[in-house]
C-alpha cells in the first residue's frame, strides 16, 4: 500500500511544520522566564532557572499598562467607528441597486491596497497643523484609512450572502430601507459584524508605521511601538522584550483559537470565490 506510507509521511511532515511554527513562541516564552545573565550563556530547550522578574519589571518599572491601554482605546474606537459607519455603507453596496456602486466597490478595494507609507507625510503635516500629534484622535483618524475600507469590504461580503427574500416581506409591508436594515438585516448579521470587528481590531492592534510616526513618547505609544523601542541602560533588555512579546501575543492567540472558523471565513471571503 503506497498510499499508506505516503499518508504517514505527509502527517509527519505536517507535524514537523506545526512544531517549527510553534517553536519561536515556545522559545520566547522560555526566555521570558530566564534570568538575563543566563539568556545567551547556555541555550537550553527547557527553562532551567525560572523567574518572573521580567514580567514584574515590565509592569512595575516600565508601566506596560500604558501601551496596552493606548492600544485598546485606539483599536477599539477605530473598530467601533468602522463597524457602525461601515455597515451602513456595506448594506447599500450589497443590497441596493444604484449607479456608481461598482465603481465605489472597486475604489474601496483599491484603497485597501494603498501602501501606508505613501500617505505618512501629509497625515503628519495635517495632524501637526491640527495639534493632534501624540493624541488618540491623531491615531484613530489615520487608522480609518485602512480599517474603514477593510470593514466595508468584509461586510459587503457578509450582507450579500443573506437571501434577498429576507427583506422582501418587510419592504412589501411598507417598511423603509432604514427599518429593513436596522430590524431585519442587522439582527441576523451579528456573526458577520463580529468577524469584521475581530479582524479590524487585529489589524489596528498590530499596526506599527502610523503609531511610530504620529506618537512622540511613551504616553501615547501603542503596544507594537513600545516593544520595538524598548531600550536598556547598557544593553538590549531581551528578557523584558520577550515578556512583552508574550503579553502582546496571548490575547491575539486566544482570539484566534476561539474565532478561527470565523476569521478564516472572513479572510478568504473577499479574496477567492468562484
Amino acid at each position: 500500500m503506497a498510499a499508506g506510507w505516503q499518508r504517514w509521511l505527509a502527517g509527519a511532515a505536517l507535524a514537523l511544520l506545526v512544531a517549527l511554527m510553534a517553536f519561536p513562541f515556545y522559545w520566547a516564552f522560555v526566555a521570558s522566564l530566564t534570568p538575563e545573565a543566563v539568556l545567551f550563556r547556555e541555550p537550553s530547550l527547557w527553562p532551567t532557572h525560572v523567574i518572573v522578574d521580567h514580567y514584574r519589571a515590565l509592569f512595575d518599572e516600565r508601566d506596560f499598562w500604558i501601551p496596552i491601554r493606548n492600544s485598546i482605546v485606539v483599536a477599539g474606537t477605530t473598530t467601533l467607528l468602522c463597524v457602525v459607519v461601515g455597515s451602513l455603507a456595506a448594506y447599500a453596496l450589497a443590497r441596493l441597486q444604484f449607479r456608481g456602486k461598482t465603481a465605489i466597490l472597486s475604489f474601496i478595494l483599491a484603497v485597501t491596497m494603498f501602501p501606508q507609507i505613501s500617505i505618512v507625510s501629509p497625515l503628519y503635516l495635517l495632524l501637526r497643523a491640527l495639534r493632534l500629534i501624540d493624541t488618540y484622535p491623531g491615531l484613530i483618524l489615520p487608522y480609518l484609512t485602512f480599517a474603514m475600507p477593510l470593514a466595508v469590504w468584509l461586510l459587503v461580503g457578509f450582507f450579500r450572502q443573506l437571501p434577498f427574500d429576507l427583506e422582501e416581506a418587510a419592504l412589501v409591508d411598507g417598511a423603509s430601507r432604514w427599518q429593513s436594515f436596522t430590524r431585519v438585516i442587522l439582527p441576523v448579521s451579528v456573526p458577520g459584524l463580529a468577524t469584521t470587528a475581530i479582524l479590524t481590531f487585529i489589524y489596528c492592534w498590530n499596526e506599527f508605521l502610523f503609531a511610530l510616526s504620529f506618537t512622540l513618547g511613551p504616553e501615547r505609544q501603542t503596544v507594537p511601538v513600545a516593544i520595538a523601542l524598548f531600550r536598556g541602560q547598557y544593553q538590549v533588555p531581551w528578557g523584558q522584550i520577550l515578556a512583552a512579546a508574550v503579553v502582546a501575543t496571548v490575547p491575539v492567540a486566544v482570539m484566534v483559537l476561539i474565532f478561527q472558523r470565523r476569521i478564516v471565513q472572513g479572510l478568504t471571503a473577499g479574496a477567492v470565490k468562484g
Binding site: L14, V18, F40, I104, A245, T249, G274
Partner: protein, 324 residues
C-alpha cells in the same frame, strides 16, 4: 475560460458582482428612491475614506513637487517641479532599496507559495485535529509583525543564540555566525520571519481555492490510474491558478511595502544593505525631515505597487487564458 474571466474581474470588481449574484428581480422597493438612499448610506464611509485616504495621497503628490525641509523652515517650500524625481533617479540608495525590496519579495513569496501549497493540501485532507492545526498555524499570522520580528531577532541575536546552537549542533555550520553584521547572513532571519508569519495566510487562500475544486475530477483520474503527482500537475495546479494569482497579487503588494519587519529586525542594516524602499522613505521623512523628497519616494512606491498589480492581472491573465 469562465474561471479565468472571473479572476480577471476579481481584483478591480468584487468576485460576486451584482450582475452575477442577484438576478436583478427582487429589488423590491421602488427603484426610483434607491439611488438616493444608496448614496446617502454610502456617503459617511465614502467621505471618510476620501478625506483620510485619497486626499492625503493627492497631497503627497503635490508635496513631492516641492522642496520642503522641516529642519530648514526658513527655506520655505519652493516649487521645484520634478526635481525630486530626477534626484531619485540618480540616487544610488534608492536603487539599492528597490533592489532589496525586489529580492525580499521574490525570495519570500516563492518560499511561501511552495510551503503554503503543501500546508493547504495537508489541511484539505480530513484528519483528527485538523481544526486545531488550522488554528495553530493562524497564530503567527495574527500577532503583530513587530513581535514576529523580535522573536526572530532574538533567535539569531548572539553567537550563542539558539539559531547558532542548532545549526552548529546539526553540523550545518562549522562555527557560530554573527548574523547581523553581514548582508548575506542578515537576510536569513528576515526571510525566515516573513515566511513564518505569512505562510498561514497564503495557505488559507489556497485552501479556499482547493475546496472549490470538484472532487469528482480526482475520483475520475484515480479510476483511470493517474498518480497523485499527475493529479497535482494536471488537476490541482491548473484549477488553483485563480487562487494562486490572488495570493501573488496580495503578497507582492504586501512585500513591496514591507516596513515593520525589516525596520525592527535589521533596521535596514548592516549600513543600508537590507533597507527596503518603505524604510528609506520613512527615514527621509521622519529622520531627515526631508518632506519633499520623502513624498516623492512615497509616490514612487505607490506607482511601483500599482504597476505591479496591473502587470499581474494583465500578464498572468493572458497566459492562463491563452493556455486553454
Amino acid at each position: 475560460m469562465t474561471r479565468f474571466a472571473e479572476v480577471r474581474a476579481a481584483p478591480p470588481t468584487p468576485p460576486a458582482s451584482p450582475a452575477v449574484g442577484s438576478p436583478v428581480g427582487p429589488a423590491a422597493a421602488g427603484p426610483a428612491e434607491e439611488p438616493r438612499v444608496g448614496w446617502a448610506y454610502v456617503a459617511p464611509a465614502l467621505s471618510i475614506i476620501l478625506l483620510v485616504g485619497l486626499f492625503p495621497l493627492a497631497w503627497t503628490v503635490w508635496e513631492s513637487l516641492h522642496r520642503h525641509d522641516l529642519r530648514m523652515p526658513w527655506l520655505d517650500r519652493p516649487f521645484v517641479g520634478v526635481a525630486n524625481y530626477a534626484a531619485i533617479l540618480a540616487d544610488a540608495r534608492f536603487w539599492g532599496a528597490l533592489g532589496h525590496t525586489a529580492f525580499f519579495a521574490v525570495t519570500s513569496i516563492a518560499l511561501e507559495l511552495v510551503l503554503g501549497l503543501f500546508l493547504a493540501l495537508a489541511l484539505n485532507e480530513r484528519f483528527r485535529g485538523r481544526g486545531l492545526v488550522r488554528a495553530a498555524v493562524l497564530v503567527p499570522w495574527a500577532i503583530p509583525t513587530v513581535v514576529a520580528a523580535l522573536l526572530w531577532r532574538f533567535m539569531f541575536e548572539s553567537q550563542t543564540g539558539i539559531a547558532n546552537a542548532v545549526l552548529v549542533g546539526a553540523g550545518v555550520l562549522d562555527q557560530p555566525v554573527v548574523w547581523f553584521v553581514r548582508t548575506a547572513t542578515a537576510w536569513v532571519p528576515v526571510i525566515l520571519a516573513d515566511v513564518w508569519k505569512t505562510t498561514p495566510f497564503v495557505a488559507l487562500l489556497l485552501l479556499a481555492g482547493l475546496q472549490n475544486i470538484d472532487r469528482s475530477l480526482y475520483e475520475a483520474a484515480a479510476t483511470d490510474g493517474a498518480s497523485a503527482w499527475w493529479q497535482l500537475r494536471h488537476i490541482t495546479l491548473p484549477l488553483l491558478a485563480p487562487a494562486i494569482l490572488v495570493v501573488l497579487i496580495f503578497r507582492t503588494l504586501d512585500a513591496f511595502r514591507v516596513f515593520d519587519l525589516i525596520y525592527v529586525l535589521t533596521g535596514g542594516g548592516p549600513g543600508t544593505s537590507t533597507e527596503p524602499i518603505a524604510v528609506y522613505a520613512f527615514n527621509a521623512l521622519l529622520q531627515n525631515l526631508e518632506f519633499g523628497y520623502g513624498a516623492a519616494l512615497s509616490v514612487v512606491i505607490f506607482l511601483v505597487t500599482f504597476a505591479l498589480a496591473l502587470l499581474y492581472i494583465k500578464g498572468f491573465g493572458a497566459t492562463v487564458g491563452g493556455g486553454r
